[in-house]
């Protein structure tokens, strides 16, 4: 219909109204073709606007002296005051150090475990046994953090299972959960226990994608098991390893609060308090909304920047994340 009206009076239209009417007709055609798709997408878009983009707008209270009575808009601006206060507070370096160190420990000790596990699993000759091991080791991934932490607290209690065992070997009992020196070990160690099986999935898939003819060729060349692993298997999963490592490094400044706020106590804050838990305490327990939003924003910006940098890096290796 629109096309017809253009043909009837072509001379009278300016370029501008031509463009507009083409746009209008395209819009109408798109709507006719995809109206149900837009109908489906509308609650999805609404969800993202309300629960993701509205909080992004709410982040401006980091630059205001927010009080709930005034609301976000009417609260007075304070510029970067909260950021300055945070940078000058004596918690600043402790939080940065704890957040970073937990991640560094996890990259050094936690990152290689699923890879080694997948490689060893791949060497098993019985497929049935392999599936068994997989099924069992995926399981802890699905256990709630509350249950996992309560088992940690129980087994590591002063007269818990681990200390009982230590005493059998003549070692005096260790107050694991009260001693700041133990926190990172317990946190990262329990994380490895819970996640190594699940984390291996992606490497197992990479292993199964290696071209079997490569192994056959290697065998013809007289390669043994070790040589095949070194020259075929490991190069085959290396791209996946690099991608995962890059992704992991993008999160080097983020540690979630969910597990830590169940595990820590004031006696271990020296090593256990990280940026996200500090935000939780300052913001939701002490209701310093603006101050804690500023700290959270500072952390989000660092994480966002890291992700961008890390993707640059992975593009250079020929495997961009997006």
């Amino acid at each position: 219909m629109v096309v017809m009206s253009i043909q009837v009076e072509p001379r009278k239209r300016t370029a501008m109204s031509d463009a507009l009417s083409i746009l209008a007709s395209r819009t109408r055609r798109e709507w006719r073709r995809n109206k149900y798709v837009y109908l489906m997408l509308s609650p999805v878009i609404l969800f993202y606007l309300v629960f993701h983009y509205a909080p992004m707008y709410g982040v401006i209270i980091a630059f205001k002296d927010f009080s709930p009575g005034w609301g976000i808009w009417k609260s007075p601006w304070v510029g970067f005051e909260w950021f300055v206060e945070f940078f000058n507070s004596h918690y600043f370096w402790r939080l940065i150090r704890n957040t970073l160190l937990i991640n560094v420990y996890d990259v050094i000790f936690g990152f290689p475990v699923p890879i080694i596990f997948a490689l060893l699993l791949n060497e098993l000759s019985s497929q049935k046994f392999k599936r068994w091991v997989q099924t069992v080791t995926y399981l802890p991934h699905f256990i709630s953090v509350v249950v996992v932490v309560s088992m940690i607290l129980d087994f590591l209690a002063r007269d818990g299972l681990i200390n009982d065992l230590l005493q059998l070997f003549g070692i005096s009992s260790i107050p694991f959960m009260l001693n700041p020196a133990w926190f990172r070990t317990v946190y990262v160690g329990s994380g490895i226990w819970q996640g190594f099986g699940w984390g291996a999935i992606i490497y197992l898939a990479a292993l199964s994608n290696i071209d079997p003819t490569l192994y056959e060729a290697a065998e013809i060349d007289g390669a043994g098991r070790w040589a095949k692993m070194r020259h075929v298997t490991i190069p085959g999963i290396l791209p996946t390893v690099i991608i995962m490592l890059i992704l992991r490094l993008g999160q080097i400044m983020s540690v979630g609060y969910e597990k830590i706020i169940l595990m820590y106590n004031p006696m271990t804050y020296e090593t256990s308090d990280v940026i996200s838990t500090f935000v939780y305490r300052k913001g939701l327990l002490q209701m310093n909304y603006s101050y804690s939003t500023a700290i959270g924003l500072f952390n989000s910006i660092i994480n966002f920047t890291l992700l961008i940098l890390v993707n640059r890096l992975s593009r250079r290796t020929g495997t961009s994340l997006w």
């Binding site: 798709v37 489906m40 992004m56 709410g58 939701l284």
Partner: protein, 295 residues
């Protein structure tokens, strides 16, 4: 295969045996905590507390702690609430996620790219904890069941997994259905979802386990105990008390019956997951891998 096995050198055989042994060790390390909790929960409270070191069998037999767990009204309330959050939450998750995934998989959708960008951006940047909390408060959702369901109605990661699965379905199917007069809702529910059952199974598992295990949103959004999910009740029984007693008591933090009640509580809260887990397990790899494939 047989020939190759015969050819294995001594070194290889030693490696293979050690490898199997190591895997068995890993299974033990993974399962023993659960096994310990299981046998401790049905043990006689006084006997299990006296027992030192590795426990292999139940010490005595007592179901007293289970009786006390089931008599605890908060456990019952928590259970019912969690079932509500899991069922309603997962249903909403599935509907919205498949709507979104279907939309983003339509190659002829004019606004596909901007909408995708808008959704994916939220994976990289978020307003953070406090603005999200204030939003939920301003919407009047504090202390309502909706606070447990709406803010996490879509997981972007799951949406992308599902979209990738949908992109693998030949577009000619949708086109011929359209010629036969089907609209997009029919195509989604009659063609796309049935063709992606493994992914749908994985979605159900991920979302349902997520709801079953969630405690943090309840911790910050719910004051009223009648709305508490099981995990928050667990936190009170298992962790809040234990941390408190750890800080105050000097000598012992294990009271016999309190201990076995803890174990029984863990069992009651974890058994449902242990039951459904083996049935859905075979879909994991597929679901996880689909998400890892880039378009």
């Amino acid at each position: 295969m047989v020939a190759r096995r015969l050819k294995r050198s001594v070194g290889e055989r030693i490696f293979d045996n050690f490898n199997v042994l190591f895997m068995i060790l890993l299974i033990v390390v993974t399962l023993y905590p659960f096994y310990y909790v299981t046998i401790a929960s049905i043990s006689d409270p006084t006997l299990i507390v006296q027992k030192r070191g590795i426990v292999l069998w139940p010490q005595g037999l007592s179901f007293e702690s289970y009786r006390m767990v089931f008599e605890n009204p908060m456990i019952r309330i928590g259970y019912m609430n969690t079932i509500f959050y899991v069922v309603v939450g997962t249903a909403l998750n599935l509907v919205l996620t498949s709507f979104g995934a279907y939309g983003l998989s339509r190659r002829d959708l004019a606004l596909r790219n901007p909408i995708t960008l808008m959704i994916v951006f939220t994976m990289f940047f978020s307003g953070g904890l406090i603005p999200s909390y204030l939003l939920v408060r301003n919407l009047g959702l504090l202390n309502t069941r909706w606070a447990m369901i709406l803010p996490g109605a879509i997981s972007t990661w799951n949406l992308i997994i599902m979209r990738t699965a949908f992109l693998g379905i030949p577009e000619s199917l949708a086109e011929s259905a359209k010629i036969d007069g089907a609209n997009d809702f029919t195509i989604l529910f009659r063609i796309y979802l049935p063709l992606s059952l493994p992914v749908v199974a994985v979605m159900i598992l991920f979302y349902a386990v997520g709801h079953w295990n969630a405690y943090f949103s309840a911790l910050i959004y719910l004051r009223e105990r009648a709305l508490y999910p099981l995990q928050l009740v667990l936190r009170e029984i298992l962790i809040a008390n234990s941390t408190e007693s750890m800080m105050t008591s000097v000598v012992s933090d294990r009271e016999p019956i309190g201990e076995t009640i803890k174990y029984a509580t863990i069992m009651v809260a974890t058994l449902p997951i242990l039951f459904v887990y083996p049935f859905l397990q075979k879909y994991f790899v597929k679901g996880v891998m689909i998400g890892a494939i880039k378009e």
